[in-house]
Amino acid sequence: MITHITKENYKSVVVESKLPVLIDFWAPWCGPCQMMGPVFEEVAKEFNGKIVFAKLNTEDYPELTNGFGIQGIPCLILTKSGKEVGRAVGFLPKDLLKQKVQKLYETI
């Protein structure tokens, strides 16, 4: 299950989350982001109960996007209590995404 982040639920979904949250910053006009979508969903299943997977539409919420200093998408940021732990820019195939998320997860 992928949570969609909005201005209204940002605090409860990201900042107050007990689990770390991996945010997929995307936009409808971004081709590689469209490709990232199904991969993100597949990997989400493997981290069920460990990491919350969430998506944020950068076009709809520029102020949340700017808060993370994002200037390139797709961009995945792992957060703990709303703070950035690490990020990955650009499309990642499934296995690389899994490795990257696992590595970031271990640093928490």
């Binding site: 936009a27 006009w29 971004c30 081709g31 590689p32 982001c33 469209q34 490709m35 199904p38 991969v39 597949e42 950068t58 076009e59 996007t65 200093g69 994002i70 200037q71 390139g72 998408i73 797709p74 961009c75 990020r87 820019v89 650009g90 499309f91 990642l92 195939p93 499934k94 296995d95 690389l96 490795q99």
Partner: protein
Amino acid sequence: MDYDVIIIGSGPAGLTAGIYSARADLKVLILEGEQPGGQLTTTTEVENFPGFPEGIMGPELMNRMRTQAQKFGAETKFELVTSVDFSKKPFEIKTSEEVYLGNSVIIATGSRARYLGLESESRLKGRGVSACATCDGFFFKGKEIVVVGGGDSAMEEANFLTKFASKVTIIHHSENFKASAIMLDRCKANPKIDFLMNKEIVEVLGENSVTGLKLKDSKTSEVEEFKTEGLFLAIGHIPNTGLFKDKLEMEKEYIVTNDTKTSVEGVFACGDVQDRKRYWQAITSAGSGCIASLEAQKYLSHGN
């Protein structure tokens, strides 16, 4: 797992090979690789693909090709190949998840955007340095940015980026442009576009985001700083052939082919990865993907 054809790559070449092979009732696996859908996923409107007089968005065109391949039964996976073994049959293709066996292999790994190769550039990727104008142009609303390159794609990106940026400077290392006259004229006529010629980028400046560039004059070698908030790369492409070095005959960075046949019988290559004549078009890649599939079918029926 056994397949008749394993296709590595999912741009126009790979997916066309997939459509033809699956439609011929072969058992087909497409490993989508590091950029599913290929380079067209980072473009906007494709105006010259036959059959779409009104134009079609690059990502949309690629989604349709994938759907078409799947419709005929091709399996597609979001996996990246880590190694290949062409020394035994069936051929062995490894990803980090699985080992796949194929009676034939079609290589369609394409090419990737060329970067300048500077440490400062890779550090600031996604923080002002970008190789995808359509993805990232939005984040540079009202800002002054740079496009580096002298070909058609540099001109196209510069024009596209003026939708967002207040000013776009095209930086090119010489004063001769590879771009076609029509594209160059479009840029020259655009009041938001400036040209800066005979300059080489030697460093990207900035801590957490791009603040400027260090430029070296190609003639005088003089170094100066240039203020900018974004750097978009359009300096060409490099074929993705790293996996096949020492395994197939290569010329420079390209796989050598004869009607898509490589130096190993049963292994075919199509699209940019073998396009030594540098046509580099979606339609030529698709065409060679079709040839690769037909050659693979011929090989599978006679060659085994």
